[in-house]
Amino acid sequence: MLWGSNARETHPIFFHHVLKAVKRGAKLYVVDPRRTTTADWATGWLPVEVGADISLSNGIARCILEEGLEHKAFIARATTGFEAYRASLERYDLARVCRETCVDESLIRRLAREYARAPRAMICWTLGITEHHNAVDNVLSLINLGLLTGHVGRYGSGLNPLRGQNNVQGGGDSGALPHKLPGFQDVENDALRANFERVWKCKIPPRKGWHLTEMFEAMGRKELTALYVVGENPAQSEADATHALERLAGLECLIVQDIVLTKTAAMADVVFPASASFCEAEGTVTNSERRVQRVRKALQPPGQARDDIQILCDLSLRLGFDLRLPSAKAAWDEMRSLSPMHRGMSYERLDKKGLQWPCPDEQHPGTQFLHARLWADPIEGPTAPFHAVEHSPPVDLVDREFPLRLTTGRRLDSFNTGVQSSAFASPMRRGETIDLCPHDAHSLGVMEGEPVRVISRRGRVVAPVRLDPGLKPGLVFMTFHFPDEVDVNLLTIDATDPRSGTAEFKAAAVRVEKL
């Protein structure tokens, strides 16, 4: 089950593996408001209304329970909170679910049956789940499905977020989170923190920090006045760009370390030109399957660009602390010494194929899938909790003034704000467009290629029309790949999930005007 994921275009090589399975007879269900190229390959496509994911997953759960297809033994042995969850589903009769999700009841039932009955079933999701104001609830609702059917902790099953960037997983693994030290060790745990303080020979602030959205809020309150940005382009990647730019502009000090002069870097007080980590430096990255793999230096960085480690060390020295410029390998080995889940991953062992964490010692083969402990007899560690979660529609409501639901996403040949991908001449690339279904284009009296104005409660842009019969009436689509030409994030809303800090890029209300 691919939920809120257009993997055919955004994770093409992962999708090769899906296609292999489909060829061997696996059933593919795709939950997506758009009929994407991914949905074209599906046994069943559930055209869910934007933001109605919880209603749909609760509806699926309810079908499973109605037909007695839940994994009773697993629920009993490995989970908690089932009764409360079951009670919460009482409110999700199929009539309501179909109304909220705009998905046929027969399709919901078919998916429920096939998912519950499959010997192995997997749910993968991407930003369609997480770029919402209730992202965490969305994820919890999918986890509920996995627990309900016992499709967790076993080979070929599970719940898998497909990572959008080559090292978003590795960043988290190594502590680039406001509340975690490397290896997901809680910064507020005194004993764990002490381990790091001993090795780092310094005091670590004992409280968790801010995540990205909280930082921007703090900038708004002028509590955060200096920002050091490494390899990120928030001037173009943040929702409600007008708002974000104001806050960046209001900083007392902005330092940007990047491989190119991004729009954020152009605003900076100081720019540190960096080497491209994937080919001008040594190190590791971690992919969606928790596989830590080596990146290697193949090129000399241009001009004055320096390795990230060197920049940090040089800066540290100026600030009065000598990090002694460790090699990438030495830095990695230090992390291994502090992070138990990385401990067995020497550079030598990572060389060809990498290893999947946790890998606690040098004899450990790595871990292909997580949560097998839930099937151990007796169960190891804590039980897995169900979470009763409620449908909550997108914050930016569609009304008469803004009648269209804008959702955003990526295309195959481009990537995020285009910093990397705009440099190669893709024959498929057509620049930013506003994708409309033929029916809406007809009602608006606009044609393919015709520039139109797109207006939200926060901003307006002009983009040409692209017709996409895979959209349903009322749904329009844009990317954010060409912010220099069309800054789509002027339209998006910064309503944010308080726990994950992710904004609701997937749901804005807009209107389209003929020029």
Binding site: H11, H16, L162, G164, F278, F415
Partner: protein, 313 residues
């Protein structure tokens, strides 16, 4: 599939070889350390057994059999260097060499030497012609019989990422398989036409940019003869600047999405000139998408002077 000691015992060139069930004769030959040439076989693609360079003599079989796809059976008696095998391999090399520009197929010249193949025995290769895409099945003209009909034709350059030089195409089907059901499932190309006029083609020979092609370049990665080539490589070769002795090859990880595809970067003069992926990689099986294959240009674009020109040590 790599051959491992197993449950099937057979004789290859008089030597006893054991392979596991499902292994091919090619696996058996490799298990016996017998160098068996292949062109159309690849470990990440389904064998199509069309090039016939791997044929071996199997006792009891009327014809030679393709080692790449024939499954090993207990008690088989296989000869890999008999006179019949040598003749067929020689002729396959000559037929290819007389019709296709095989100069960039790395194994070709050594194999011609090994089997005494002289493609010129069939006459000089005919001059380029661009009629192939208009051919109609079942019709041909016998040109000058003193020239050997050939694949020679103009290079197709219809995009900035890769070129198609079908003068070099030996019709091994690898690109079609990589584009189709063995990996990419895009089906932008097929084998069109029939017989000697068969050719790799989009529908109606439409330019790639108007076809279903998504420019993953998996066809390029699979091509054994250089018929499909990075435009950057094509341009360097055209300028006489391609120099493999000054190139380095480094494995790293793709800078885009979170799948973590291994990229093998070939670098000359501090520029990435070709990107592939190892075919035995568990993530990619040798296949990439357009971003991984062609999307690394941004590193070079930061440096108009392309750095120091020295390959890294």
């Amino acid at each position: 599939m790599s051959a491992q000691p197993g449950d099937i015992e057979l004789q290859v060139d008089g030597r006893t070889v054991r392979v596991t069930s499902g292994a091919t004769l090619l696996d058996a030959c490799r298990a016996a350390a017998i160098d068996t040439p292949t062109f159309c076989w690849a470990e990440n693609l389904t064998p199509v057994n069309v090039c016939r360079i791997c044929v071996v003599e199997l006792a009891g079989a009327r014809t030679l059999v393709p080692a790449c796809s024939r499954k090993a059976e207990a008690g088989m008696q296989v000869l890999t260097d008999s006179a019949r095998v040598r003749t067929s391999r020689k002729l396959v090399l000559e037929l290819l060499g007389s019709s296709v520009d095989m100069s960039l197929a790395s194994d070709f010249a050594p194999l011609c030497k090994r089997y005494g193949a002289q493609p010129e025995r069939f006459g000089p290769r005919d001059t380029p012609s661009d009629h192939r895409d208009a051919s109609h099945a079942g019709h041909h003209e016998l040109g000058n019989a003193d020239k050997a009909a050939s694949m020679a034709q103009s290079v197709k350059i219809d995009n900035d990422l890769f070129v198609r030089d079908y003068s070099r195409c030996m019709l091994c089907y690898k690109c079609v398989e990589a584009c189709g059901s063995d990996a990419q499932h895009t089906f932008a190309i097929g084998v069109a036409g029939r017989g000697f006029d068969a050719r790799i083609s989009t529908e109606l020979d439409t330019p790639l940019s108007d076809s279903a092609c998504v420019f993953c370049g998996n066809c390029v990665g699979a091509c054994p003869t250089g018929a499909l080539m990075f435009k950057s490589e094509h341009d360097l070769r055209a300028a006489g600047e391609w120099d493999e002795s000054k190139q380095s090859v480094t494995d790293t990880i793709c800078p885009y999405c979170g799948v973590g595809c291994t990229l093998t970067l070939r670098v000359q003069a501090n520029r990435i000139v070709r990107v592939t992926s190892p075919s035995d990689n568990s993530v990619t099986a040798g296949h990439l998408c357009v971003k991984g294959r062609f999307g690394t240009a941004f590193v070079a674009d930061r440096a108009p002077d392309s750095g120091t020109g020295q390959p890294p040590t």
